[in-house]
Subunit: 155 residues, 2 copies
Amino acid sequence: MVFRSHMKRALEEARAAADRGEVPIGAVIVSPEGRVVAAAGNRTRELNDPTAHAEILALREACAAAGSERLPGHDIYVTLEPCAMCAAAMAAARIRRIYYGAADPKSGGVAHGARVFTHPQAHHVPEVYDGISGEESAALLKTFFASRRGNGDES
Amino acid sequence: MVFRSHMKRALEEARAAADRGEVPIGAVIVSPEGRVVAAAGNRTRELNDPTAHAEILALREACAAAGSERLPGHDIYVTLEPCAMCAAAMAAARIRRIYYGAADPKSGGVAHGARVFTHPQAHHVPEVYDGISGEESAALLKTFFASRRGNGDES
């Protein structure tokens, strides 16, 4: 199943983010032809940029490569339910499908909180597939936060 | 009134954006000491970046200058009601107050649509002040879109 292999790549990005001391979330964008055109992990701390979520970095990379602010027919794979910022950015970029791993009741903006795609105002609503390798993604996050709490650094 | 002068600066950024062929929206971020630490207008077309809204560019600039992904005590002035992406980014950056101009029933995410700050999930809720120089902001947008329709370019 091809979507498993793309999510596997997103999980690799999440692990690399953890190794950099960032919250372990990764994202991959796939073109209509099935080619990976962008892959990124969180870099908010490294870049001092609250918008440097994996999804935003991947969207910016894919748009730069496409020479367009829109990515019709492109799919995004992300290890955690996107927050409202990232979900709205995906709509702006006209992403076709969102595949995500673990649910995020605390900060997710797709199935929780702002539920960005469920308002009559939403101009573009991607198809959403959740729970793809969700347990692996959740385990990465759990380990990361447990180790940080161990260091007294709870943020 | 100092907030009028900051909004005036944001309107200048919006006008400069229109001159570049971008949707005329501008944003300014002010430090707790009252200093303008970032100012930006939309650059989504120029940068081929759907996330390059005035607010996001200003947040990234201010965070880079501060060397931090958070801007406690900072206020943002923006000519149009922020969309869900920008509103969520402001929350992530811990912006203290949001002053905005015109309401945006079509794409706004503060008083419309996703209403990003009104969910129990919202960890950080800035104070929001709307309608600051709203008519001037709305007039800029109206003129811009009317001229584009005249060119047959309605986007």
